[in-house]
């Protein structure tokens, strides 16, 4: 009998040993005493590769953090994966990063379609995702507890730009040229809402365009015929280039205004053969040649750490997107867990790096509605026209 009892105690003790690891608090994935694993996907090859510099830009900030000893003794280990702007590839690389590399958080991530393809997967796996590099209402409304957006929504941006056009440029006749998708339509919505606030002012012309269209003669002739003094365009760089070249051909020279997606002046001025000079755009970060001390520090670091990279808008956007995550990690302290980091992100208030001021709350994960207004100067330089301005008509705040 006693033998049975002893055996029983031994079995219980063994069972307890097996159960112990299950009942102990699970370690946070992507964090150990030496490192924090952070990742980003982005098109490094394929047609959208120019936007791939966002992911490489974030690396500059992480390298700087590591040079300074890391965050509370932990170095950042950063992974970049090429999804070729293909949502199926985004899913594949994100799964690899979560399940095999065990990353703690994602930052940035170009492509709305790619982001939408992994948004729920990341939330289900409780992986934090900070500052997607696209403005999508679906990212932030309703609140996803693991996703924090800082990219200004396109309707907010269009609203602020339209206010500038009406109140500062004093334009009466405004046309709108938009890509026939959610991006273009969000811009159009913002402009229309703003115009409606000026005694129901309306657009003299609104024309959609398919992203691949190469002949825009009839559209530009229509704008010319409408007498538009300002044409806002919410299109891609190629369409914008063709629009400007075609307009030059037919002798139509309105004031062009565009979204921040076309704010890489060096690139736009080069591919339009200089026609981009004078174009006004929104901007989600300070001008690349800004003498802001933080910007100077990043610019010098980029020169030193990645001299082969062009210091352009999208490259530095990668830094701007990563700044709030680094700030939250610093706020957490040495006991880093996913929950602690979420608490820190939810308490970020008026944080500002080289982008707009960011505020996140547990019930509000769209961090900003502010943009700067800049103008392309000679040689693709950026001229600041209006400092950070928020959309007073935004209804989501």
């Amino acid at each position: 009998m006693k033998g049975f009892e002893i055996r029983g105690y031994v079995i219980l003790a063994l069972a307890a040993l097996f159960l112990l690891p299950l009942t102990a608090p699970a370690a946070t994935p992507g964090v150990d005493k030496n490192e924090i694993r952070i990742a980003q996907w982005g098109p490094q090859t394929g047609p959208a590769a120019p936007w791939g510099s966002v992911a490489r830009g974030s690396d500059i900030l992480f390298q700087l953090v590591n040079e300074e000893g890391g965050i509370h003794g932990r170095k950042i280990r950063y992974f970049v994966r090429d999804d070729q702007y293909n949502p199926a590839m985004t899913v594949s690389v994100v799964k690899e990063l979560v399940e095999r590399r065990g990353v703690f958080a994602f930052v940035g991530g170009v492509s709305g379609a790619g982001g939408m393809a992994v948004k729920d997967y990341l939330a289900q796996n409780k992986v934090i995702w900070v500052s997607p590099a696209t403005a999508l209402n679906e990212y932030v409304f309703p609140v996803n507890p693991y996703l924090f957006g800082m990219y200004p929504l396109y309707d907010d941006e269009a609203s602020v730009l339209t206010k500038y056009i009406v109140e500062t440029l004093k334009a009466k006749k405004i046309g709108f040229f938009y890509q026939n998708d959610q991006y273009g339509k969000d811009g159009l919505t913002g402009t229309k809402k703003r115009l409606a606030s000026y005694n129901n002012m309306s657009l003299v012309e609104e024309i959609p365009v398919e992203p691949g269209e190469k002949d825009l003669s009839s559209q530009m002739l229509r704008f010319k015929n409408s007498g538009a003094e300002v044409v806002i365009m919410w299109v891609n760089p190629t369409t914008a280039t063709i629009a400007l070249k075609t307009s030059a051909t037919i002798g139509f020279s309105p004031q062009w205004v565009s979204s921040n997606t076309l704010s890489d002046y060096a690139l736009m001025n080069a591919i339009t053969g200089g026609l981009w000079e004078g174009v006004i755009t929104g901007a989600f970060a300070l001008p690349p040649d800004s003498d802001n001390p933080l910007m100077v520090r990043y610019r010098e670091a980029a020169k030193r750490l990645s001299p082969e990279e062009r210091w352009g808008t999208f490259y530095l956007a990668g830094i701007a997107f990563a700044e709030p995550l680094v700030e939250a990690l610093k706020m957490v302290g040495p006991n880093l867990t996913t929950e602690a980091c979420l608490d820190a992100l939810n308490s970020i208030t008026d944080f500002q790096g080289i982008g707009p001021k960011i505020t996140w709350r547990a019930d509000q994960h769209q961090g900003t509605d502010s943009i700067q207004i800049q103008k392309c100067g000679p040689g693709g330089t950026a001229i600041l026209l209006q400092d950070w301005t928020s959309n007073d008509l935004a209804t989501w705040k």
Binding site: P47, A49, T238, T246
Partner: protein
């Protein structure tokens, strides 16, 4: 405004027509639709871009070197990719051209990257001349008109009077009979691909000057040019050019009146034409007896 719409429609239409001719030449001799045509023109234009930027050669010299490259490229694809195909069917050959398209696009992406570039073409779209009050003609448009007309005349003379042109027509009508008559059909194919590649490269340079240069910039013009060729009749070279011009005019007029429908109008017209006259508007309809 109508006058300017006509000019713009004619200009882009002539460009579609010119590129459609490159597609039609290969189709005429082998019944193969070359889906790599756009990317063949694209890589040739990148070669010109590279010579202009890297070596700072004058444009005429870069143009000549590019044309030599285009000839070699056309012959290379025919000799190394299509000719080795065993017991080829037309469908099999078309699939090979699709493979060539992807290969060329990847090659250009690897070598020059995906970032858009400006192609410094000497005929500017910005240098305009007012030919009538309110009616502007730019250098690019004049270049397209002159070049298209010139290539049409040269092709007419070539197919009508040169031995090689007659051999190409014979090969198209009956390969076996052409072989019996002593025509070296393989050489005819090689020459056809070279000729098509050259015309495609010239048209691709015109497209690049109007748009931007990147590895995907010829995808949409190829689709339009192919549509224009189908509209005019793939076996008729003048028909292809007229098809291109018709397409340019239809798109511009329709696009002006109803901009929302511009992207699809051309294809609706083409479906109608194919339903009513399958060989195209300007080609003779042949029925093969079996």
């Amino acid at each position: 405004m109508i006058g300017q719409l006509i000019i713009e429609g004619l200009a882009i239409g002539a460009c579609y027509g010119l590129f459609g001719v490159a597609v039609a030449i290969i189709y005429k001799t082998s019944e193969v639709v070359n889906f790599g045509q756009g990317e063949m023109g694209m890589i040739s234009t990148f070669i010109a871009y590279h010579i202009l930027i890297q070596y700072q050669f004058p444009f005429w010299l870069a143009f000549i070197i590019t044309m030599i490259f285009a000839i070699l490229l056309g012959m290379f694809i025919e000799f190394f990719l299509l000719r080795p195909a065993k017991d080829p069917t037309v469908l099999g050959l078309i699939i090979i051209t699709l493979g060539a398209e992807m290969m060329l696009m990847s090659l250009v992406g690897w070598k020059w990257g995906a970032e858009q570039k400006d192609f410094a073409f000497p005929l500017s779209v910005r240098d305009t001349h007012e030919i009538l009050p309110g009616l502007k003609l730019n250098e690019w448009t004049m270049g397209v008109f002159i070049l298209t007309a010139l290539i049409m005349v040269l092709l007419y003379l070539f197919f009508r009077y040169s031995n090689l042109g007659v051999a190409m027509r014979a090969t198209q009508q009956n390969q076996n009979a052409a072989k019996i008559m002593g025509i070296k059909v393989e050489r005819v194919f090689s020459f056809t691909w070279a000729m098509s590649s050259v015309i495609g490269a010239v048209a691709a340079m015109f497209f690049a000057a109007r748009s931007v240069l990147d590895p995907t910039y010829m995808m949409e013009p190829f689709m339009r040019a192919f549509a224009a060729a189908v509209l005019g009749g793939l076996t008729s070279i003048p028909g292809v050019v007229l098809g291109g011009i018709s397409l340019g005019l239809i798109e511009n007029f329709f696009g002006y009146a109803w901009p929302h429908w511009k992207p699809i109008v051309a294809f609706v017209v083409i479906i109608l034409v194919l339903t009513l006259k399958p060989s195209g508007l300007f080609a003779k309809h042949y029925v093969k007896k079996v």
